[in-house]
Each structure stands twice: as C-alpha cells, then as structure tokens.
Assembly symmetry: C5
Homo-oligomer: 98 residues x 5
Amino acid sequence: MFLAEVIGTVVAPISVPELKGRTHLMVRPVTPEGKPTGKTKVAIDSIGAGVGDRVLVVDEGGSARQILGDPDAGIRTVILGFVDSVSIHGRTVFDHSS
Amino acid sequence: MFLAEVIGTVVAPISVPELKGRTHLMVRPVTPEGKPTGKTKVAIDSIGAGVGDRVLVVDEGGSARQILGDPDAGIRTVILGFVDSVSIHGRTVFDHSS
Amino acid sequence: MFLAEVIGTVVAPISVPELKGRTHLMVRPVTPEGKPTGKTKVAIDSIGAGVGDRVLVVDEGGSARQILGDPDAGIRTVILGFVDSVSIHGRTVFDHSS
Amino acid sequence: MFLAEVIGTVVAPISVPELKGRTHLMVRPVTPEGKPTGKTKVAIDSIGAGVGDRVLVVDEGGSARQILGDPDAGIRTVILGFVDSVSIHGRTVFDHSS
Amino acid sequence: MFLAEVIGTVVAPISVPELKGRTHLMVRPVTPEGKPTGKTKVAIDSIGAGVGDRVLVVDEGGSARQILGDPDAGIRTVILGFVDSVSIHGRTVFDHSS
C-alpha cells in the first residue's frame, strides 16, 4: 500500500459489472512529505475522494478473472481511505486538518 | 491500472482454451497527457480496441493456473475499456472526441 | 519479502472491516546492513511494531476483493515479524540485542 | 504479458509435483522489434519452445501455495505460446516465417 | 521465477503457523552468469539451501490472508530448488558440479 494524491479523473466506461458506476481517479504516489514519487495510476474510488485529497491506495495483484467474466477475479488499484496525518520519527509531516 | 495506447498487434496462437480467439494487442503505457512511460506489454483485448486507441489496462498478478490447465487461474494483462477523457486538476488533458 | 525499518505512522481511518483497528505504519525497505533501499510503503502492523524497529515485511499481490466487499480478498503490505539478526556470509550485519 | 526470446536452459530439479518433468527456460524480455529489455527470468515451458524462439510469457503473481504443498497455488512465470508475428502501427516488425 | 544466490540468514521469529520452523534466507538475484542483479530479498527455504548455493526462487504475489489468519493466503518469496546448471545459447555458464 502507498500514499498518494488524487490528481485527476478518468472517464472510461467499463462494461465489467463490478466496475459500473465506480469513479476512476488518477492518483500520484507521494512520499510521506508529499513529494511525487513514481508513475501515476488509475485507481477505483471507494470512499468519495476528490482532486487534491491525500489517500491510501492498494495496488493489488489479483487476477483479471472478473474482467473476463469469472466471479472470483479482482481489481488492481483501489483507494482505501483518506489520510488524516503522517508522522515520521515522531514528527508530523502531513496533517489534513492544518 | 494504467492508461495506455494501443500500438500494434501480436499473432501468437495460444492453446489455452480461455485465450483462444482473443486478440493480443501491444499496448504502451502513457502519462495522462499521452506521453509514453514504461515498457510495452502484450494485453488481451476484451473491448474490440484497435491501433491508436487510448485504453485503460489492468496488469494483474493472478496465478498462471489457467494456463497450465487449472480452471481457477488468471490472465495478467487485460484491456478493460476505452478512455473517453482524462482531466488533471480540472484541466482536460485528453479528450477522445476532440 | 524484504527487510524494512519502521519509520513512522499513518492515521487513515479505513472502513474495511478487516482493517478496522489495525495500525498503519510507514516502512522503509533496507539492505541487510540497514541502508535505505527503495520507496517507503504503508504496511499493516500485525505484531505491535514501533518506530525504529527492524522488521520483516511481505508485500503481496493479493486481490482487492476484501476492500470492495468480497470476503476472499487480501491486503497488500503486512509486517510479519521482528528481525532479531541478519547474517551475510557468516558475518552478523544486524543484531537487535546489540 | 510480454514478448521474450528463449536464450537458454536451466537444470534445477524441483520436488514440487506440478513442476516435475517440466523444462525451465531462460527468457529475455524483448521489445516488439526484438531488442533486449529488462532482466532475464526463468520460465516454465508449456509449448516445447527452444533457444532462439520468440515467445509470449506471462509473469503472474499467484501465490506460492503449490510450492509449499497447497493444491491451490500457482507458478509465476510461464511460456504461453510462440509468436508468429508482431505489427506496430501497421508495420510488421517481427515475422517468424521470414 | 529468477536465479539467485543464497547470501545469508535472517532470524525473525514469525507467529504465523505456516511459517513456524521454516528458515528465512537472504537471497540475491543473479544473472545466468552469476552476477548480482537487483535487490536482495528474504526467502522461505523449502529445500535445505545454505549460503553460497545457487537456487531458483519464486517471488509470487499471493495475498497475505494467511498472515492475518485466513487459511487461503500465500507467502511471497520461496526457494524452489537448487540449480544444477545454466546454459545460454548452448554454452554452459553455470555448473554446480564444477
């Protein structure tokens, strides 16, 4: 799992039943301090996140069975939750409320 | 999941039943703005995509059981859908209709 | 699996039942000798680890089904255990007790 | 999935029942045009491939349960099929018959 | 799957039942010729390997369910077998017996 910032939206109608109606967001991995690190990814929103939000993302390696019609398959990238704060060695390096 | 452009086709007869009759496309990961980023991959088409199309790809890490005859196995790289548009910080950086 | 040092904490309320009440820690992959290597990740604590601890981490590629409500899904990054010592070619390069 | 060239063989007796009798081949990922790209990997042959063959490889992230005795586990790297041809933007960049 | 050399041991008591009593080894990925390539990893030994051995390793992306108490989960990095020899384009580049 990694920290990311929501930087945009993707409109891509998907005919996979499990993905219908879900929002696709562009997320950019960030360091604890908020600096960009690594390539942007497309994530499924599960929490109502919006552009500018700091979020926790899981980029899982489940199979694509679902996409091809198998009910046991997974989805790769999902936004799990909003990040309230990040502390490194006791020092707060990100605080949503500030 | 990531954004990609379909750049070509691969003819590779596969004897795995689940893959028979499916088209293999070469996809190149791109940034939200459409610049190439990362290595090309071979993806299974599930939407009728063609060369030049901007698509959403899932590169999942499911097991290869299917390939070796186990009905529970997965396929790694699949084209999920066409990308209609991509917006970054409120600015449209890709629009299929334009 | 890889060696890592716990460097901080993340407060990110997650509504996924399996993740409720679990601590999210920032971990930094390290070489056997303890030098930072690779990007920091967010890991689920399963052992009561704290900042400064040397730990063993599994970064698995299970599917995100759990996150989206499927009971069979997994979580990607988990702290498995404390590292007592690391020996390379017979030489102790890390010893927790020293 | 990715394109690769078979560059060699590995003799490594494996006691995992599912792997017994299967050939292990060294594969080198290549670009559509055939240039080496990325690290070599050890792949399980499922098609009777030999050194010099251009092949399609899946490097899946299934679990190692099989290896440790669980019948539901997977194998990571498998050669899926021979590549007959690759076309990029309508131009043939690889043709097995030529 | 990849070739690796066992370079050391890790003592890290794990309370996961499936991992109890198993040895954790530090492995360093190597090229067919034996040159280091990529980061060291911690692997579960399943064959009685020791420091200096050339081995075949699978780094699978199974889920961490096992670690969190689900009996269906996997382990990420496992030593599958000893490597007897490696041949590249017909030339032996590694031979255990020599």
